[in-house]
Point group: C2
Chain length 242, copies 2
């Protein structure tokens, strides 16, 4: 199958390595119909700003709010005692997070760059879900999509080489942001974030990027910006073992 096809392959058996980043499919708010639900939801929310680098909440903190990204990029991660970190998701405008966490947060959320968020009190959200079956349904769809994304990420971490990981990351990012061939792609997260997302070290991420640059597959005007010159060449790298 080609990487340009959807997550569920047509041949019925093989999966591409792409799509690790939080799926662009089901949103809550931009969807057609059910505006009443969206409006009821929005009434519960408070707009807040978070400067880049600031922690929104940490693992084990009481989960009092759910959030929606309005602008900016959020990083969700888990830590182990000795400092190792696994970034589980990058979130972009329109994405919800922490809406199914009760009691304690199971992960850390931090601002990759300056953020605007909507914060929803968990209790009010719970009430809304109980009152409106559609809202409950839509959140269920959102979590289900999250499982699919996590599974795609598992494939990357379990079975992809460093080159495949980086290539699939770039493809997913460009599709998530909606950038075409030869347009400049914003890369809000640091090399360390990317490394921790892909289960690699900073150095390996750098080396692969340099290699792609030498092969004229990407340009790197600066660390926070990329130009994907040959997306198809990237995609080949994801399909095969190169």
């Amino acid at each position: 199958m080609s990487l340009s096809e959807a997550c569920h392959p047509t041949n019925g058996f093989s999966t591409s390595l792409a799509w690790p980043i939080a799926g662009g499919k089901p949103r809550f708010g931009s969807s057609v119909g059910g505006d009443a639900d969206v409006q009821a939801l929005n009434r519960l929310g408070t707009k807040i700003r978070v400067p880049h680098g600031r922690m929104i909440f940490g693992e084990g903190d009481p989960a009092e709010h759910a959030y929606k990204v309005v602008s900016g990029c959020v990083r969700l991660s888990r830590h182990i005692s000795d400092g190792r970190r696994q970034v589980t998701q990058f979130l972009f405008p329109g994405d919800f997070f922490s809406f199914m966490e009760f009691g304690e947060h199971s992960f850390t959320a931090e601002a990759v760059n300056d953020l605007v968020l909507m914060a929803f009190p968990q209790k009010a959200l719970l009430k809304l879900r109980n009152e409106r079956a559609n809202v409950q349904e839509r959140f269920l769809t959102l979590v289900a999509q999250r499982v699919l994304d996590a599974h795609a990420h598992l494939v990357i971490l379990g079975r992809a080489t460093a080159k495949e990981r980086v290539a699939s990351f770039l493809i997913s990012l460009s599709e998530r942001i909606g950038v075409e061939d030869d347009e400049i792609l914003d890369v809000p997260m640091s090399r360390l974030d990317i490394a921790d997302y892909l289960g690699l070290t900073i150095e390996t991420v750098c080396r692969v990027l340099s290699e792609l640059k030498r092969a004229r597959i990407i340009d790197i005007p600066d660390p926070r910006h990329l130009v994907l010159r040959k997306i198809d060449a990237l995609q080949e790298r994801v399909e095969m073992n190169v």
Copy 2:
């Protein structure tokens, strides 16, 4: 934190490497209260038997049923074109799977050993969920738990060494099955299954198991059975980098 503690650490910041296997927490059926929901659900199901090794469904197959494991062990996996495989979950009695798949299945399900399953038609299930808010709610909880499990698995695949992976697998398996120190632990899956679950090769899994055996931390009466002699020593291996 100690591995014996829950998934959400008390110190608020570090996560253990254990708990990669489908969580033992929320079940649907064995829970107290809501028996009416459970009974309504059960009326929709058909008991089916699947011999070991047989595929239940493959990636891309139309998703006509959801399933509940009655007895035996199910393996869920994703494949990439060149044959690489990532096992995303092992399921045990009481576990549901594929109840949020519409259209096509996003993964392959196979019988690790001889199975008894309950099969639920998706349409009837959908209807039940719409009629009974509690059922919807409980499925939502189930999917949310699945996300937590997948995240724990991501940490293992992204950041754990081979020894840590195998040790955390053994601990999770023993906790999932409910086996104490020095009791014989059934290991229904093959070395290849374990390797594909942990993102390793068969050989590495074997070597780590042999090493644990030499260190008198486990016994291996035969490939399908293990005795965990020193679970605390295993847990140390998961905490640290050993």
